[in-house]
Symmetry: C2
Subunit: 334 residues, 2 copies
């Protein structure tokens, strides 16, 4: 198996990307091609010990910054690490593409070059939402703002396939995100999608458990939470914002006097444990589902461990033949 890794993805590029790729090549015994500025990537590699021969470098002269307009950047930077990497995947020179870079650009390049899997209405972006009981996949978190009910139905199918493939869940609990748990809740699109999913659950193995509310996400009441990219993005970002706000506020208040500071120092192992439990780096990046290729996108602030885990998720997706599972799932006869 060969996985293309964007060497110019993370905020600290190319160091964590290169390190994570080398670690993955050693640990998983797979081939990796690092795409990016060859001089910088080779320099990063030269600082590492144990670079196996299965790690190669493919030069890409440009890089797409986080702040750039996704579609525009993809159009104008044909020699960027993202576009070059996705093109390699399209040509069949690799099995998966992994990037910690600009999410929108990776999405745009994937849709443009890889195109949709046969039968898929719209590709969707998943995001793993950390909870103490394990992660939930929120899908879509921004690829499609206005959705038809049939699209949401397919997001459910794709999310279900992904959680089976990468986390080994046997019967992922699939739910629709709504403004109440009752079946009658939701906007018109969600209500229509609810009916479609009930029907599909009767005909297939899909474990559709109905609606969940926003507060049920962190409570891990479902493994796959389906939303349009507008609502899904709002839920994900609101959660990030609240988490950061609470974290900052607790730190600030603890630092206010020596006694609480001493207490904070003593309690530090507990805080570190909480941090570890909710550590996104363990889950290894978010999938772009519904395009004709395995594409995993990680946080810009990823470290080498996060990069390695994203590569692991890509590997598992390839091994479990997720593209074929999705293709079958969305086929009209299914």
């Amino acid at each position: 198996m060969k996985i293309i890794v964007d060497a110019m993805g993370s905020d600290q590029r190319p160091t964590p990307d290169t390190q994570g790729a080398v670690d993955a090549a050693n640990e998983y015994g797979i081939e990796i091609t690092l795409v990016g500025d060859e001089t910088r990537v080779r320099a990063a590699l030269s600082r590492l010990s144990q670079v196996p021969p299965s790690v190669s470098v493919l030069h890409a002269a440009q890089e797409i910054e986080m702040r750039e307009h996704p579609a525009l950047a993809v159009k104008e930077k044909k020699d960027s690490s993202i576009v070059v990497g996705i093109e390699q995947l399209k040509r069949g020179n690799a099995d998966a593409f992994v990037s910690m870079g600009n999410t929108g650009a990776t999405l745009a390049a994937s849709v443009l070059y890889l195109q949709r899997l046969k039968g898929v209405h719209r590709p969707a972006l998943g995001a793993l939402f950390p909870t103490p009981q394990g992660p939930s996949l929120l899908i879509d978190v921004g690829a499609n703002t206005d959705c038809k009910p049939e699209w949401l139905e397919q997001f459910a199918i794709m999310g279900d396939a992904y959680m089976r493939a990468t986390l080994g869940l046997e019967q992922p609990r699939v739910a629709l995100l709504a403004n109440g748990e009752e079946d009658t809740k939701g906007n018109q699109t969600v209500q229509a999608a609810h009916a479609l999913l009930r029907e599909r659950a009767r005909a297939t193995k899909l474990n559709f458990i109905g609606n969940v509310e926003g507060k049920d996400i962190a409570a891990h009441l479902a493994d796959v939470i389906v939303a349009d990219g507008f609502a899904g993005n709002i839920a994900l970002k609101t959660a990030e914002g609240v988490s950061k706000m609470l974290n900052d506020l607790i730190r600030r208040e603890i630092k206010r006097n020596p006694l609480t500071m001493a207490g904070g120092a003593l309690a530090m192992p507990a805080f570190n444990k909480v941090k570890k439990i909710l550590d996104y780096t363990e889950y290894g990046g978010a999938p772009l589902l519904g395009v004709n290729g395995v594409v995993i996108i990680g946080h810009g602030r990823s470290n080498a461990v996060a990069v390695k885990n994203a590569i692991r998720v890509a590997k598992r997706s390839v091994e479990s033949n997720i593209l074929e599972i999705i293709r079958r799932g969305v086929a009209p006869s299914a």
Copy 2:
């Protein structure tokens, strides 16, 4: 000024409701009518000292439980404290209605009996989102799931009026909730509302600052955050869920060993401060805006302080003539 207070609203009814009402009557020098089971309310009053003559009781034989279906309960329980209280407001026997009870039922009764203010497309439910820098009003959080752009525009106008009236903000920063801060983000409805609000900001004093993302809510980047009731509800509930999850998780991890427990005990003043900073009871309940009457709805788990503060907010809304401000704001000539 006379304010009707639902004595059978809170989870611990009628104690916090009655206590809060008496405290408000004493502190603000206003008349209060407690609506509810007369025997139980009088018993609760008899346990309080300093019940001023400005506090009266109006009997209502029924009460609507939190779990009841709102519209059905309002239809079937004509003698419930919510319906009787709202009817008093409609008849002009009071200036405002305050309840800690079933939000949906209070909304349904208000729309049914008070009806909409002239010019208002749809009443909306606001919720105060606590942040360290002060509260933001999220509107709508569940009254309307599928909205037209003009409705969102009016939610902005109503939210702006409310934050000026109750928090004394001179130029509340009004924003649309979207999946990105750029002007081009949002679903079709939000994009259309964006154009309407830009236009209105040119013509009036409305301080429309554009789009905010989910993560900007907790960062207090806006004072009024406008969304349809579907997305607004998801944002609010997701935040509640994450907050509870983090709180539970930190407690659990601190309790795991004696050292972190000692640390947690020492740091307790800091945690209490965080709790106080984010205490919803300080803000005094959420407004139902756009109906022909001042209606404030508080949390079921309110204590007497929260009830008193909800009454204070109702009083300020009446004093600032919020109904007239909204009426003028939504008038076609405005």
